[in-house]
Structures are given as C-alpha cells and as structure tokens.
C-alpha cells in the first residue's frame, strides 16, 4: 500500500436488493490521491459497491446497505448526513456519457448552482473554466460553451461529465466503467485525464478491462460473487495474486 491518507474506510458492508445479497462483508480502505480500480466478472457487485460510496443506492427502492462506510472518519450513512451534500463531495461519472440536454456551460455550472457555491456570474464563469480545464476539455469547447453538450463526440461528452463532477470541488471521484462506451482514442484521453485527476482527488474506477486497471490504478480490488477477494497494490495483484480466483480471473479463466 502507498503512504497516502485513508479517504474511505468500509467495514463489513452488506448490500441487499430485496432478499438477495449483492455484497457480502466487504472491508476496504480507499486512499486519497490514488486511483483505486474495482475489477471482477460482470454481476459481481462492483457497481453496487461503488454506488454505496455516494449513497446513490438510496435512490433504488428495495436496496438496503448495512455495515459502516466512513469518509474521513465520518459515517456517511449516519442520519445527520445529507446524501445530497455527500454527493457534492463524492462526484460520480457513469458508464454511458449522460450530459444534460443543455448547453456545455449549463452542464458544468449546474452543480455549483444548486449548491450555491458561487455568488456572481464571474465567479461561476471561473468555476466552469477551471472544471473544463481539469477535464482537459477547455481548449476544445471554449468557443462554443453555449452549444448543447449532447452535440459533442462520445469522448468529449464523457470528459464533460467529468468536468461536471469536478465543478462541485469533490474530494472523491467515482467512475463506473467510464470508458466502456468510448473508442480507443477517447479511452486513451480519458485514462490520461484520470492520471492527472489523481493529483487532486481520490479516484475510484470500476473497469472490466484489466489492462485499464493496470494502466491507471495504483490499488486494485478484485470482487467475485459479491465478495472482496483480494485488495492490494495493483502491481502485486497482477504479478503475484494471493487468491486462486484472482489468478484465474487475471489469466482469463473466469469471464
């Protein structure tokens, strides 16, 4: 493990959809200024666990979360925590780029606006520009901020979504297979961006591509059938897996 501070600390997390258990006894520590990758076969609960970290699972009717998830030592499932405030601190980027059918500017400005983060138009402009720069999109869109975000290419749309998430000054960025709908060039751009984002944020990325996990992450968690099988530095997971299931997966024997 690297030497960074712990951002998220999860203990004995269980997630149920109705009566079926999707996550069993997961303990994991997610570090600051680090990219943590969640890998594992499809349906093993990577997305489910990721969505626990910003309480997006609250929006699913029959979903129940047990156990403790601490963000900077504070239980995010505590009654005093407002999930709406939490999501400003823990931003999320989804599998399919999902910009709002509004202008590029409006897309990025939306978060700061609803959280009342800026007091003037000039301040908001500044926040928007900074977010777009961080998402490596500024030079491409600075002349057409008022055109619809949905008119951008797939890769640009995904970077716009990253800019939108970054605009609320989050501490953690959750990304659920952010490149699976992108072509290889756009994927490379987003991966490069993720590496830059690491300097400011704690990034958690779900990916089905082990090469991607190897390229962008420092820590890797391997999930299998709702359990966290192995968690450690990416290099050691890939070169020296401790569990036979991890080994089977990374050598391509579990699909």
């Amino acid at each position: 493990m690297t030497q960074n501070a712990t951002k998220f600390s999860a203990r004995k997390v269980q997630v149920f959809y109705g009566d079926t258990q999707a996550i069993k006894d997961v303990d994991v520590d997610i570090e600051d200024k680090t990219v943590t990758a969640f890998i594992g076969p499809s349906g093993c609960g990577k997305s489910t666990f990721l969505r626990c970290l910003n309480r997006m699972n609250d929006t699913i009717d029959n979903c129940r979360v047990e156990g403790d998830i601490l963000l900077d030592g504070e239980d995010i499932y505590d009654k005093r925590i407002d999930p709406v405030q939490l999501r400003a601190k823990v931003g999320m980027v989804f599998q399919k780029p999902n910009p709002f059918p509004k202008s590029i500017y409006e897309n990025v400005a939306y978060g700061p606006k609803i959280h009342g983060m800026t007091r003037s138009k000039a301040e908001l402009d500044e926040v928007v520009e900074k977010a777009l720069r961080r998402a490596a999109l500024w030079t491409e869109v600075k002349d057409r901020l008022d055109t619809p975000g949905t008119g951008l290419s797939g890769g640009q749309q995904q970077r716009l979504c990253i800019a939108r998430a970054v605009a609320t000054s989050p501490e953690v960025l959750l990304m659920d297979e952010p490149c699976s709908a992108l072509d290889p060039i756009a994927t490379a751009q987003v991966e490069e961006l993720i590496d830059e984002l690491r300097t400011r944020y704690s990034v958690v990325i779900v990916t089905h591509s082990m090469q991607q996990a190897a390229r962008v992450s420092q820590n890797t968690a391997f999930f299998h059938l709702g359990e966290l099988v192995e968690f450690g530095e990416t290099d050691s997971i890939f070169t020296n897996p401790q569990d036979h299931r991890t080994e089977s997966y990374i050598t391509g024997r579990i699909g």
């Binding site: 939490l86 999501r87 989804f94 999902n98 709002f100 978060g111 949905t150 939108r164």
Partner: protein, 427 residues
C-alpha cells in the same frame, strides 16, 4: 453433418420454395388489408367532410339588401339615437328607396323582406355613429331567411304556390330587387360575430365560441396543474404499494368512464350541492376538467416515464435533490409529451356534448357571455340546438357550425403535432 445442413437450406428445394411462397403471400395479404382499411377510413372521412361542406357552404354567405337611404331625423333623434323608430325606418327604406313608395299594398310583404332583426342592425349602425342622422348612406341589411333561401336557389320555384313559403307576388318583388342591383351575397361574418338568434339569417356562433373558450380555459386551469401534480406525485414520490396500485387502476378506469356520467356528477355536485348556476361555462369547464384530468395524468406519467434514467442519475450524481431533479430535469424533458397529451385532452373536451347538455349549456341565449359566470352555450351544444331547430336556414348553419368546430379541433391537433415535432427527444 455439414452436408445435411447444407441440404436443408438448399434454396432450390421444393419445401423451401413452398414455404417462401406462403410467406410472401401472407405478407401481401396483410399489406392489402392494411391499404383497404386505410382507404375505407379515408372514404368515410371524405364523405363526412364532403357532405358537411355541400350542405354548410351556403351558410358562409348571407343575402343582404344594399340600398342608399336617408336616416330620417323624424324617426331618429340624433341626441338619443337608441330610442329611434328603426322598425319604421327599415320599412321606409325598403318601400321608398327600392319600390319607389308606389305600391302600398305591398307594405306588409315588404316588411317581410328584411330580417326581423334588420332594425337592430340599423340601430347599431346609427348608435355607433349618430352623425349619420339626416345623411344619406349606403346600408347593407340582412334579408329574411326565406328570401335568403330563394336567392341561394334552395327554394324551389316550381312547387305550387300554396305549398311554398313565398307567394308568386313576393318572388316577383324580390326578383325586381335583384334586377335593380339591390341584392348582394357577401361573406357571412355574422356567423362568427353574432350570438344565437331565433332568426337563422342573423344567428351566429359568437356566444358558443366564447362559451367554449371560457369552458376550456376553466378546464385547463383546473386539470393541467392538478393533473401534472398528481402524475408527479404518483410517478416520483408515492410509495409503490397496494394503495398506489389501486389509485393507478382507478385513474385508468376513470379515463374510460362515459362522459355523460361526468355530466351527471357535475350536475349533482356543482349545481346540486354547491348551488352553482346552471348553463354557465365555469361549471361546464369544471365538469370537463373531471373528464380531462385522467387523460392528463396518464399522458404526464407516460411522458415522465420516458425520461431516461441516465438524466436523473446525472442530476442526482452532482447532488441535486429529488425535487430539483423533478423540476429541473424531468419535467422540462417531459413537457412536450405532457403538452401533447393535454392538448389532445382539451380537444376531446371541446367536442364533448353530453356533460354540457346535462348542466344546461344548451339554453337559448342571444348574447355572448362576458364572463365565465354568464349563461352561455358551447360549440357542440350550439350545434345540438341548431340541428333541432325547424327553420330551414338552420340546416346549412348546423353544418357550417360543425365545420367551425372541426376547424378548431384540427387546429388543436395540429398544434399538438407541431409541439411533438419541435421538441423531438434531444437525448
């Protein structure tokens, strides 16, 4: 293995050929049936509109007497024009100017040529401009229904005199007028600008159009916000349980309840219990709102459901509250669908007759309502009244009124289609 598969898909084999033929035949049948069905539908529509136009077009013109006449100061006091003797004035105009005042025997018949309401047309002209008293002006006055029919060729001159509504002598006098250039047949704007009347030649739809407009306005103001509110609650906030299932089923059933039942409900509740007045557009609008409400709720829920979950997730993901998601993202995206559903619901309400009959909006009212609380008719009930009237002139007016109603309906549906196309899905 490979050999046998190849044999089975041999395109030349008789089984495959027969199968293909059968498939083509059934496809052809389906296509033919479809074209047949559409043709029948079009033929019906064509027949309906064609028959309406062929009977109704006559009502879009109205025969008028056009004369130069002096407004006699002896009959009309310029200081108090509304009290003038316009009946005598109208009579004088016809007898003096047209016939030259010679034929006193015909005086009675002459009063008949002009519409019974012509004196009021005359009064309106003079009251609007009292300076005309003593002047000679060109006047255009509507003739009575039977002369209108005669002029439009709808009165058969060959029927024996005793079976005809006009005597030979009357026809002769009118023909003289036509020859003298005193008769014109301009566009009948009065059909839209006059209120109802017992006399078809001056009866119009103004009261019905305004009555319908008020009723629809009330209906919209009630059913639109309530319907959207209910749909938002059911779709976004209500817990999914037995009770919400029950409500959902009931709303769907409500949309299928015959309109006459809503009419009875309106009669019992609004007029019976709350003691609201009969025949007024306000009550009509409330009754129509009962009918439109389920339509709007169903359309709104469908439109809300059609908003992709990714948009909600995106908004929730940056920390929007549920209410911000609904009002900032879901509703704007659902609005075209909601508006389309609402306009179609409103169009249904515009054509609805039974509930309005039950709450008395088929009264005979000769002035247009100035507020939603004045007695009035509505377009469909006006058609109902006119269709029931014995005067010949109302036959073509009924068809004309139906055409006016259809025009409004087509305009509303066109608006719905326009909105749907304009706000095509953007995601």
């Amino acid at each position: 293995m490979t050999d046998s598969t190849a044999a089975r898909f041999d395109k030349a084999s008789p089984e495959i050929k027969a199968h293909l033929r059968k498939r083509k035949r059934s496809q052809f049948m389906l296509k033919t049936l479809g074209i047949g069905a559409i043709s029948i539908a079009f033929a019906m529509l064509f027949l309906l509109v064609g028959s309406l136009i062929s009977t109704g077009y006559q009502a879009f013109t109205q025969t008028h007497l056009v004369v130069e006449a002096r407004i006699d100061p002896a009959l009309v006091d310029p200081d108090n024009p509304s009290d003038g003797n316009f009946r005598q004035l109208a009579l004088d105009i016809v007898s003096n100017r047209v016939i030259g005042g010679a034929d006193t025997d015909n005086t009675d018949r002459l009063t008949d040529i002009l519409s019974n309401r012509a004196q009021f047309t005359l009064r309106d002209i003079v009251v609007a401009n009292p300076d005309l008293v003593g002047e000679t002006v060109e006047l255009k006055l509507p003739v009575a229904d039977k002369y209108d029919q005669l002029h439009k060729g709808m009165l058969d001159r060959d029927t024996p005199e005793e079976n005809r509504r006009l005597s030979d002598r009357e026809i002769e006098i009118f023909d003289q007028l036509v020859e003298g250039g005193y008769v014109a047949k301009p566009l009948n704007w009065a059909l839209l600008t006059n209120a109802d009347s017992r006399f078809p030649e001056v009866a119009g739809l103004k009261g019905a159009i305004i009555g319908s407009a008020y009723a629809l306005l009330v209906c919209f103001l009630l059913s639109f916000p309530v319907g959207i509110g209910a749909a938002i609650y059911l779709e976004e906030f209500a817990p999914k349980n037995r009770i919400s299932d029950l409500i959902e089923i009931n709303i769907n059933n409500l949309a299928a309840v015959p309109s006459v039942v809503f009419g009875l409900l309106g009669l019992a509740v609004f007029i019976g219990w709350f003691g609201m007045p009969r025949s007024v557009p306000f009550v009509g609008g409330m009754t129509l709102a009962l009918m439109t409400l389920p339509t709007i709720i169903i359309a709104t829920r469908a439109a809300i459901k059609a908003v992709p979950p990714s948009i909600r997730e995106a908004a929730l993901g940056v920390g929007a509250s549920k209410q911000q998601v609904v009002f900032g993202h879901v509703l704007p995206l659902a609005m075209p669908g909601i508006l389309t559903g609402t306009i179609i619901g409103m169009a249904q309400a515009l054509g609805e007759t039974a509930p309005l009959l039950l709450i008395g909006m088929n009264a005979f009212i000769t002035s247009a309502p100035s507020t939603p609380f004045d007695s009035a008719t509505a377009l469909p009930t006006q058609i109902f009244i006119w269709a029931d009237s014995p005067e010949r002139g109302f036959v073509s007016r009924t068809s004309a009124a139906i055409l006016v109603l259809l025009t409004f309906l087509i305009a509303m549906n066109a608006l719905a289609i326009f909105l749907r196309n304009k706000f095509e899905r953007k995601w």
